[in-house]
Symmetry: C2
Subunit: 454 residues, 2 copies
């Protein structure tokens, strides 16, 4: 019996129109990555579970897609374990591989595995799908693409500068208005240290993060509820009320946390980065934002997040500096910094704002109408000439009704239709119809090639 075909929840097919638009984003991003000296790598879809497990927290472990071992996987499972019916324990027995969850951990694994072949500092980009067994919802998929660009093996803040420039160049090219929010993990650590709550950095950041939503009073209450002392909350007030330019904000922060060594280092880093940035005209806004709390468990310096200004959507790009990403794979003390562009969200933003150029869609320049055997034989050598001249050209494969062929060309958004019947054949010419304007011209082969090459 016939099956009704479908695809797994949270996955998608991409039609030619969607492919053209997605490739427009990927191609833009790639060209700019290369302009800054980054080179592509790719890693396998499958990684050993030993590489992936424990890298994304307990929740992440659950969201990994695991691949069943081949062959007679169940025969080797001890009876007692089978009886236990513990899915997590059993997974270790019957699965050794998983689908990659992001591009960062595979990159760290790549760097360590190929350390002898790599010249550090290593600048790589990687554009590949990742898979997460998340609950699918609007804008969240189980298969989606990340576009990562990372530099590993240099502590210079020049790298942070270049990442902001890349963000600026990418979104300028795509015509998306953005603001880059920047924070620094060292400043957050300095704050926690200054108020005597060095261990509470996450609690404090999470509370600060709610400022916009719940207001200052409630944030203060939450901090007290979490056991932060009244003195500490008092000390925090200037930080919660930050205002002015990035430089002014840094001054205000320094007044509070200047006594902390790590905090001062963070302020210095930010001042250096903003000084670098002041030398360039950027389309994107750059804003110091202490509420930015992404990746606090692995970022050690700058933290980046990019928001689209004209669409209500989560961040469309983000990243930061990590001082020990490769340590988990036995290669300590290698600092890196990187960002990841979320292709699917950028696609959604551009669709909503109608930012895709019309020309990304059409791919065939001219379709020859098929009037029958004799006309077909007349057209085939012309078609070959056009293709040799690098013009995308095709002939309808059958002598179907004219209307059917024209509808097909129209739906495919072919720019021109070429027709050669008895009259054209006698004159050794072709009639070319512009599908947009409806204009028709009788042309020699040479004229045809010239017009279609434009």
């Amino acid at each position: 019996m016939a099956q009704k075909p479908s695809i797994p929840k949270g996955t998608r097919d991409f039609s030619p129109v969607e492919m053209a638009r997605r490739n427009y984003i990927f191609d833009t991003v790639k060209v700019i990555f290369q302009r800054y000296g980054f080179q592509p790598i790719e890693t396998p879809a499958m990684e050993n579970l030993s590489t992936l497990m424990g890298k994304y927290g307990e929740e992440g472990d659950k969201l990994l897609f695991k691949i069943l071992n081949s062959g007679d996987f169940i025969s080797k499972v001890p009876e007692s374990e089978l009886q236990e019916r513990n899915s997590i324990r059993l997974t270790n027995r019957i699965s050794e591989k998983g689908l990659r969850y992001d591009l960062t951990v595979p990159f760290a694994r790549f760097v360590v595995q190929h350390r002898n072949d790599i010249s550090f500092p290593f600048k790589r980009y990687q554009i590949q799908p990742v898979w997460r067994a998340d609950r699918p919802q609007k804008g969240r998929y189980r298969e989606f693409y990340q576009c990562d660009v990372d530099m590993i093996g240099s502590t210079s803040l020049l790298n942070e500068l270049e990442l902001v420039q890349i963000i600026n160049d990418v979104f300028s090219a795509l015509k998306v208005n953005t603001v880059v929010k920047i924070n620094n993990r060292k400043i957050l650590a300095g704050i926690a240290e200054t108020i005597g709550e060095a261990e509470r950095i996450v609690d404090i950041t999470v509370a600060i993060d709610k400022l916009d939503k719940i207001g200052l009073d409630k944030v203060n209450q939450e901090l007290l509820d979490k056991g932060v002392s009244e003195t500490a909350v008092e000390k925090l007030q200037p930080i919660l009320k930050l205002s002015g330019s990035n430089a002014e904000k840094l001054d205000q922060i320094e007044a509070v946390i200047g006594g902390s060594e790590v905090g001062s280092k963070g302020i210095e880093e930010m001042r250096t980065l903003f000084a670098y940035l002041s030398g360039f005209e950027l389309n994107t806004e750059v804003e110091l934002d202490l509420t930015l709390a992404r990746g606090l468990n692995y970022y050690t310096g700058a933290i980046f997040e990019v928001k689209a200004k004209d669409v209500q959507i989560g961040s469309i790009c983000g990243g930061g500096r990590y001082d020990d990403l490769t340590g988990i794979f036995g290669m300590p003390d290698v600092s890196g910094v990187g960002i990841s562009f979320g292709a699917d969200r950028i696609y959604d933003v551009m669709t909503q704002l109608e930012l895709f150029p019309e020309s990304t869609v059409a791919s065939t320049k001219v379709m020859f109408v098929n009037f029958g055997a004799a006309e077909e034989a007349y057209c085939l050598p012309i078609l070959a000439k056009l293709r040799a001249a690098k013009i995308n050209a095709e002939i309808y494969p059958e002598p179907a009704k004219m209307k059917k062929q024209m509808t097909w060309a129209d739906r495919k958004q072919v720019a021109f239709v070429a027709m050669a019947g008895e009259e054209e054949m006698k004159q050794e010419k072709v009639t070319l119809k512009n599908m947009k304007t409806g204009d028709q011209q009788l042309l020699s082969f040479e004229e045809l090639i010239n017009i279609l090459s434009e």
Copy 2:
């Protein structure tokens, strides 16, 4: 503890150099597919197992990578089934999705699922990885790329012509000498029918296929051993001794199987295709080859296989016509024809023959040496100008030792190195070193941009 990182057997990482070479193949193929009016689609890495199972034979079912259901998958398995310890049966309980095994079945599923949005005839290409749990060996991987191009919804032999033209254009562009072997399932059916062994088409073809290896006598013996009658084997002799041009071969075949309706249809199809092909100058040889037996269980007309002439390796491209691919998904009687380029084997052939152009590898045009803060500040605006002029440019991120920076540029195959020390800064100039020739020039910014834009 540190883990020693590795990747699953049969999978690969791709370095920047390998990526550049692979992209050279993919880009060449894509451009030519588009030149013939084919448009890209993509499908998810994961398909429902109901879509995949039973489509590749019993062996294929085993070679599918299956994905473990998320959550508490084992709790719902009945006790009796658990006790049975039958891995195949259990798989159905704990896995619903698998990784795609080829691009053909997902394409058939795509066509049926989106039938209302597609204008037939539908010409699509698809370049994506596929996964097979095969035993890894030299040249055979568990993750590899296919480049498929198919036309569905037209029975015209013009489509077969265009596929041969595409093969010719792709391998001409890649400079690989090839021979395209063509067979026709209908001719094979005509042979089997004529000798009164219509059901034995596969046995007969498999025997014929051994002609080169074991010789005529042993082939005849094998046919007799398989129960083909002596009269039938006698009748087969002219077919086994085919010689001459493609047209002559078709005449010899016709003399034997002209009485078979399906056989005559196959001969007619081949004559039409060869007549089409005679109108074009092709670099690739085209050869009728009855021993070609790929995909006999689903191909219904032409069968294609492409061999590299200068390297001993399996086929590097293949395909054929299928009259009912979408029938399994409830959409009968849609004829299609397509071919698949094996990117990994093409890569191996091109590596062996050293066919990759040198220019595919390098990506950065110029690297600025970093001499320290003042020199860096002088270089950054120049760097921005170069990038604005679409030149791939970078600066070494730290004021490391000169030798280290030059070695880095050299290993990355950067074409030029730019240097600006005290003297250059005073003169508002830059020294540019050609890394290939060693030549150095003192240049103004404008001259620099002009030279690097060449």
